[in-house]
Symmetry: C2
Subunit: 693 residues, 2 copies
């Protein structure tokens, strides 16, 4: 596998090794030794001698054995030559810890470009520069190629973080929570080895059960999406995306040196790739522990057990708000519980076994939930009363977990020293233990969200096979060749027509008389629109006249427009006046390195005042289209209120999917506005389109 040499090196050189304790060149060797690295370590320092008891070599070329990974911690300007030497030596990958590259400006960027070029030319892999490195806890490797302080136990969580600071905080938090990590990577400026590659590497690593990703910006969103999608189909990826607020985005920009323009797009990529999104590191870490320890639920129906009511209420609120349900228990479960619990126990969901409940009561409740077919996951709230055999309860939880195919999440509220053994028994069994009901509940809800995504059948966009794709390409190419910034009305409408997108009947004309005959053919009332490349905002500049009832008013308006816009030598477009239904808008913007971000919403004040719009990435599948339409707050209006007939949602969905197809097949389109589309009980018809390059 591609990155195996990097993550499982048989030997590591440290170029810039030092005996001074507060240097990175010392620290890495110290970490390798302290972590029990199983391979050979070669300090490299021009002075030779001994470093941390190991023989040092003047140059990488002097090292006696093959070297898989070389750390480089020398001055930035010396790094390119050093990487060349490493390539000559046959080093598989270098980890460039040194800073002073792209993040310091043009000069650094030039150095970084050199590194990338050497990688391309020689096949050596460059990790970094300006990065921490990697850690692999595998007992056959124990590679701590990193200068940080967290010393993880072996586990099943793998972490990749763009920011070393954030990576270390996440790593440290998981260690503090007593949970192990499998592999860790923070690749800083990422000039060669990329986050998508690392995600794929974790995806292929059998011992990794869950992948944690932190990103601040996405240089190659398409590759990221592909890699994530490939992995998330069989292994959960939990993602943290920062810079949600304008101020946060500004801080990202001053941190990474790159302006972040794709906030919405990154959210949509996470959604499309099945990455479970997190807003903060604490929830990310806590959830990682749950994902690593327990199976994914097959549905979102939770059964809860508690021995005191208050915390159960808090957990219930969080679960419901997180998208889970708490169904009524089956009659069978109820009667089994009625028999085995105290008479005062509450046989609802949550089940309150009462504070005085002992092991047999917990066993009965656990058993009931893991066999009840209306339940997909078990949530346990356990406050440890001093008068209860809590060790016995813990053993019952462990036992239930052995028998259960459903995830069991436990919240144990206790004094941790006094009840250490109780906690240990539960944790050792593989049931993750949380302090707070809200924490455990949010973890289970995040597992439920991944489960929901997993259950969705893989679906392709529904394509219009009769689309005239060649003609569409010609229209776009020809406009581009003529250096046009936008399509003419006639071309825009024809482009829609190529994809069988229904359009309100229209005629393109140039004179007043032509307008009149066009209206005669179409039938009154009609709409009159000016058509010229220079006039982008027709409505604002008085270039649209709606609802013209007769030839007189049409004639007057047509003459007026020809006069007012004479300098643009415009065409005049006569179109059927649509009525009824709702005006909706469909828009799109090209996203750098990706398809388009598609936008849908109700027109007029709904978009202007309420900003009630939904976004999806192209290509959009039928299910995504339905989700987009139904996610609007104003969806009720489309369904019809106050006895009004609802719109033909299938027709609207088909229209949206054809727009998506048009965008995918014509990536040169930079911006698209179909506004309005009339959506009514009889179908959906576009009434205006604007296509920009």
């Amino acid at each position: 596998m591609q990155l195996d040499a990097l993550f499982s090196p048989r030997s590591v050189a440290v170029i810039g090794a030092s005996n001074r304790e507060l240097t990175i060149g010392y620290r890495i060797i110290e970490n390798l030794l302290g972590f029990g690295y199983t391979g050979k370590i070669f300090p490299v320092n021009p002075k030779g001698g001994e470093i941390r008891g190991l023989q040092a070599y003047p140059s990488i070329l002097d090292t006696p054995d093959p070297v898989d990974v070389a750390h480089i911690v020398i001055k930035n300007t010396f790094v390119p030559d050093c990487v060349e030497d490493c390539a000559r030596k046959g080093v598989k990958a270098v980890i460039v810890n040194t800073a002073g590259f792209r993040e310091i400006g043009d000069e650094g960027a030039a150095l970084e470009d050199q590194l990338r070029q050497i990688a391309t030319d020689t096949g050596i892999r460059v990790f970094g520069p300006n990065c921490q490195g990697i850690i692999n806890t595998d007992q056959n490797v124990r590679a701590y190629c990193n200068f940080t302080f967290t010393r993880p136990e072996p586990g099943h969580i793998s972490i990749v973080a763009q920011s070393g600071g954030v990576g270390e905080v996440i790593h440290q938090r998981i260690a503090e929570l007593g949970v192990g990590v499998r592999q860790y990577a923070s690749n800083g400026n990422a000039c060669d080895v990329s986050i998508p590659e690392i995600i794929r590497h974790f995806g292929n690593d059998e011992q990794t059960r869950v992948v944690l990703v932190h990103i601040e910006s996405l240089p190659d969103p398409k590759t990221f999406l592909e890699a994530a999608l490939e992995v998330s189909r069989h292994k959960p990826i939990l993602g943290m995306k920062v810079g949600r607020t304008a101020e946060g985005a500004k801080a990202v920009s001053s941190h990474t040196g790159g302006l972040m323009k794709q906030d919405t797009a990154i959210e949509l990529i996470f959604e499309k790739a099945g990455i479970v999104p997190f807003r903060n590191m604490e929830d990310l870490c806590q959830s990682a522990i749950g994902f690593a320890a327990q199976p994914i639920p097959t549905g979102n129906r939770v059964g809860m057990i508690a021995n005191t009511g208050g915390p159960a209420i808090i957990a219930t609120d969080e679960l419901i708000e997180g998208g889970m349900t708490m169904p009524t228990l089956s009659k069978q479960t109820e009667s089994a519980l009625r028999e085995k619990l105290y008479p005062e126990a509450s046989i609802n969901n949550p089940i309150d076994v009462l504070a005085t409940a002992g092991p047999e009561h917990f066993a009965a409740a656990l058993d009931a939930l893991i066999t009840d077919e209306s339940i997909d996951a078990v949530f346990l709230n356990f406050v440890t009363p001093f008068f209860v055999d809590t060790l016995g309860v813990a053993r019952e939880i462990a036992d239930a977990n052995r028998r259960s195919t459903k995830p069991i999440i436990a919240t144990v509220m206790t004094e941790k020293n006094g009840w250490a053994e109780t906690l240990d028994i539960i944790r050792q069994s593989g049931v993750p233990v949380y302090d707070m009901p809200e924490t455990g509940a949010r973890v289970l809800a995040s597992m439920g969200r991944y489960a929901t995504w997993l259950r969705r059948p893989v679906e392709d966009p529904s394509l219009e096979t009769n689309a005239k794709t060649q003609r569409a390409t010609d229209i776009v190419q020809s406009a581009r060749r003529q250096g046009k910034a936008c399509l003419s009305a006639a071309d825009g409408y024809e482009l829609l027509d190529c994809y069988k997108i229904p359009i309100a009947e229209y005629r393109c004309t140039t004179t007043v008389d032509e307008c009149i005959s066009a209206a005669d053919e179409i039938g009154y009332p009609v709409v009159l629109k000016v058509d010229a490349e220079q006039i982008v905002h027709k409505t604002d500049s008085g270039g649209v006249a709606l609802n013209l009832q007769d030839p007189q008013s049409l004639r007057a308006k047509a003459q007026d427009m020809l006069d007012r816009f004479s300098s643009a030598s415009p065409g005049l477009l006569v179109q059927r006046q649509l009525t009824g239904g709702h005006e909706v808008i469909i828009g799109a913007n090209a996203a750098t390195g990706l398809g388009h971000v598609l936008m849908f919403g109700l027109g007029g004040i709904y978009v202007e005042v309420l900003e009630d719009v939904a976004f999806k990435l192209t290509p959009i599948t039928p299910r995504e289209t339905t989700e987009m339409i139904e996610s609007l707050r104003t969806h009720k209006l489309l369904k019809g209120i106050r006895g009004q007939e609802g719109i033909d949602q299938t027709a609207l969905a088909t229209l949206i999917q054809r727009v998506s197809q048009m965008l995918i097949e014509n990536p040169q389109i930079r911006e698209l506005d179909i506004n309005p589309v009339f959506a009514g009980p009889q179908g959906a018809v576009a009434a205006d389109v604007r296509v920009l390059f």
Copy 2:
């Protein structure tokens, strides 16, 4: 002070004391001894003898000295007699730990009523029943009158929790975080000593700096509001209200035995009382630590320092989402920093001092922010690099805190054993230390919210002094005396008029001819409405005809209504047809034990589809009225979009305040609907009203 004997007892009896370790009667004595209780302990047990080395007495009446507090842990049916004995003995307060009262049904409720009666008759205070008890960490008291396991250090946080389970979890979490507690109380069924009383007690306790409140239901919301308001003006109260979701509310109901109907009202009470609301226990505990340690900021402008960018971005997102701002630093600050920090450091807000920054750099940045007048609070992100003198940095933080009048919140990301001394220096100085940037940021944002509330000038409702309150009372009383469920149209309009609420001109008539002359006086177009007590939903039953343009159509409609509703012998109301402006609605519902919950929103689809409405508790002040109007998502519409003139918001606000005054002065009104009110550039005028009792 009222509850001093309870929280600072000079002697404690335990009635039902036992030598069996797994009983509450043993545990309380064990806790009192273990916690170093400074007063006398009297075990009471019919068998006498010795318990835990202390002499036991057969009855409370046999105890040799005065007793301030007596725990009662005997069978529920024996409790009332026992409390009588205690009263006879002169015990000041009993803590009834025994369960089996209101929570088990009617029989238990009757026992509980007896306890309350004894309290009223004898003056003894009853705490509980079905409760944990109290804890006071004061070194002169050390009262652990409780059977739980958390052993708090002395501190400045006081806790009152309706649910013992939740109280214990909060208490334990704060202890685990290494922070002390001042006093603790969980009063279970609360038949006598109430949560408002305990809040007042904490308010008067000098050593309490912040009060934590957990409630599941509010038996006496008015008293709660008054007590909270009294305290929160000088001491922060942090509140946790559960049962947000329908499922959560159901769990509350099955836990407390009382149906929770006042979810919205409780939110509004928190808001009105200045209680900082929390959605989960973790945030509540973390924030309590910040409030207890640092001053309240005088504004919401945060200056941030970081030595690595990633965590600063995360903190920035949380602060901004929590309502804080991150202003640009003053020129003076910038140039001071430019001089003292590394040249590559980022002199923005956040300030990035760089990973290599030492004590002098942190000192410079801290100094700059605590003196910069555009900054109200300082937020520090500190990752501890191994090559930095972190002890020196810690000392600079401690030193800055001594000089600062602004709150300083620190996030220190480190390996806690290796950097224990660094952490200690910061904590000992009084700067709270958080693990995660998002946690610290949420804490500071919650302090900012309290600060915003504190800064609001205390404001009275603005009353219409010319209101005809006597006439209003007469209208309401007379309708009530006649047993009416609602006011007639004429009475409803007159009631509004008593409070100078503008009403669309109208006439009450009974015949078709009277209608015509009324319309002649008012001027066409007019609205015709049927008026009869039985016809509550006029519009739905065809009892409203809008926009009648002439006598012919008015006559036809009037005759039609008289015919159709003849069995109700209705009146007919003729009213001016209002046009223009926006239709808004004002509603109110009486809240049990409180004033009314007032509702405001735009009419039609805005309320029906978007549920875009705002709520406030009466009496509503001018500022609250403005907040209510401006909190609508559709507020932009009222301000005027697309060149439209905005409404006269002052007129609308005045109308709303007069409605509030009407409700306050006529508490018999159970339900009110003023729908629609026409709000336009020229003023606000009510067009229909419905008043139910």
